[in-house]
């Protein structure tokens, strides 16, 4: 795996998702179930449509673009001497082909979306766009174009889905009512939307919630089925990426409002949207079930930091506590007062306590430097912020989590 050399520091699941697609992108086996699209309303469709005029080229072959993008990703993982030359060749081939084919896809989607081949073409181009975006971002090649490729994938998903709806095809139907290619399209488009949203979040924006936890679990299950050696359980992968995005949204919003308050600007404009996003994610019943299952399996007396899954699960619950703390802070009239509420102090105390009890040590199965130190440091900063003045010292490292 060549990913550790990249600049991407989190979103492990999505990094591996892109990597895993290298091996399996040609197969695209049929799915047994179909995810349900949420929030494909007028507002979101407009967001996609705005980007469509940018896609203005002649017809092309999405399959070639997808294959070339896959080869570009393979080049990154190859030997350093061959890497750069092959990477640039395949990247440019994929980019040029994608550029030529997008107009054809949109035209086809508009007039002939009843044909299942459209979904195969759309899937190909969405995968190609997403792969190119990750490559551009992470491999120092045309980095400035990463945003365009993420947005291209975004626009294609909304366009194709909206046109399907306009033609009487409900992509949220049961799998029995959809063809294999429609089902595969739903799967890969969910993944592409989440990648694009992760990009937006990382760049300080708050995208609309466009996929559910069940959809994320579905595509991670698909990846796990394709290569179980590469992937952790789908439930853990989906929970990890969900809480990762939530953490970034909460932290970015809290910092933004705190800076406003520092400048005596106490406006809460935008807070409702952020809170709505956070609560929609935290209120997802499937996420609740997943967290309960993970807690029973890998926390409390079952805590085991000798495995990657065990370490990841512990980090997941550290992250969850931080999200709950930031949600509490954001729910108040100001960040300043929110950080001092009894509930915030209570959660902050828990964060510091659990970071002390459940230290993820170096030298364990997770060797990613950032995976441990970056996040642990953030959690301790946030927990420390809310500690009361008479806070007792954090507990010694142990696996005793019975007081949660």
């Amino acid at each position: 795996m060549g990913w550790p050399q990249f600049k991407i520091l989190s979103r492990e699941g999505q990094e591996r998702a892109s990597s895993d697609l290298v091996s399996h992108v040609d197969s695209m086996p049929p799915q047994n179930t179909v995810p349900t699209f949420v929030s494909i309303g007028k507002e979101n469709f407009v967001q996609g449509s705005v980007l469509i005029p940018w896609i203005n080229t002649i017809d092309g072959h999405p399959h070639i673009a997808r294959t070339a993008a896959t080869q570009a990703l393979r080049a990154i993982q190859g030997s350093p001497s061959d890497c750069r030359e092959n990477l640039e060749f395949f990247f440019n081939l994929a980019a040029g082909t994608l550029d030529r084919c997008l107009n054809g896809i949109c035209t086809f989607a508009m007039f002939a979306s009843r044909h299942s081949d459209e979904y195969r073409r759309a899937s190909d181009s969405i995968i190609a766009s997403t792969l190119l975006a990750w490559i551009a971002y992470s491999a120092d090649i045309a980095e400035s174009s990463a945003s365009s490729y993420f947005m291209t994938a975004y626009a294609q998903v909304f366009r194709t889905t909206a046109n399907a709806n306009a033609n009487g095809i409900d992509l949220s139907s049961s799998s029995a009512e959809l063809g294999q290619r429609e089902s595969a399209y739903c799967l890969y488009s969910s993944f592409a939307l989440d990648c694009a949203n992760a990009w937006l979040i990382r760049n300080g924006m708050y995208p609309p919630r466009t996929t559910t936890f069940a959809q994320r679990k579905l595509y991670f299950t698909h990846f796990e089925d394709l290569n179980s050696a590469t992937w952790h359980p789908a439930t853990l992968e989906a929970a990890n990426t969900t809480l990762g995005n939530l953490f970034e949204v909460c932290l970015t919003a809290a910092l933004q409002f705190a800076k406003n308050e520092l400048n005596l600007n106490f406006s809460r404009e935008g807070a409702d949207n952020v809170l709505q996003y956070i609560r929609a994610e935290l209120g997802d019943a499937d996420l609740h079930r997943a967290l309960k299952d993970l807690y029973r399996s890998h926390q409390g007396t079952n805590t085991n930091h000798t495995t990657v899954v065990g370490q990841l699960t512990t980090r997941l619950f550290h992250r969850l506590r931080c999200v709950l703390l930031l949600h509490e802070i954001l729910s108040q009239d100001s960040i300043y007062t929110g950080a001092q509420t009894p509930e915030a102090i209570n959660v902050a105390t828990k964060i510091v306590g659990f970071c002390g009890k459940q230290v993820i040590r170096r030298g364990g199965p997770i060797e990613d430097y950032y995976l441990q130190s970056w996040h642990n440091f953030s959690y301790l900063m946030l927990g420390g912020m809310g500690l009361p003045d008479d806070s007792p010292p954090a507990g010694r490292p142990s696996t005793d989590v019975s007081d949660e």
Binding site: L251, A254, R361, R362, F377, S378, L387
Partner: protein, 43 residues
């Protein structure tokens, strides 16, 4: 942008002592862009 461990600790101490919004902003910034801990500090 990376921020050193010492600066983070100072920001936390200042916030505990003063409870000011400026220190709160610093903490949130540091939580967003912390400097990964050095090897010697790893537990």
């Amino acid at each position: 942008m990376f921020i050193g461990r010492e600066e983070c600790a100072i920001a936390l101490r200042n916030y505990w002592e003063n409870k000011g919004i400026a220190e709160l902003v610093q903490i949130l910034e540091f939580a967003q862009y912390p400097k990964p801990m050095d090897e010697e500090w790893q537990v």
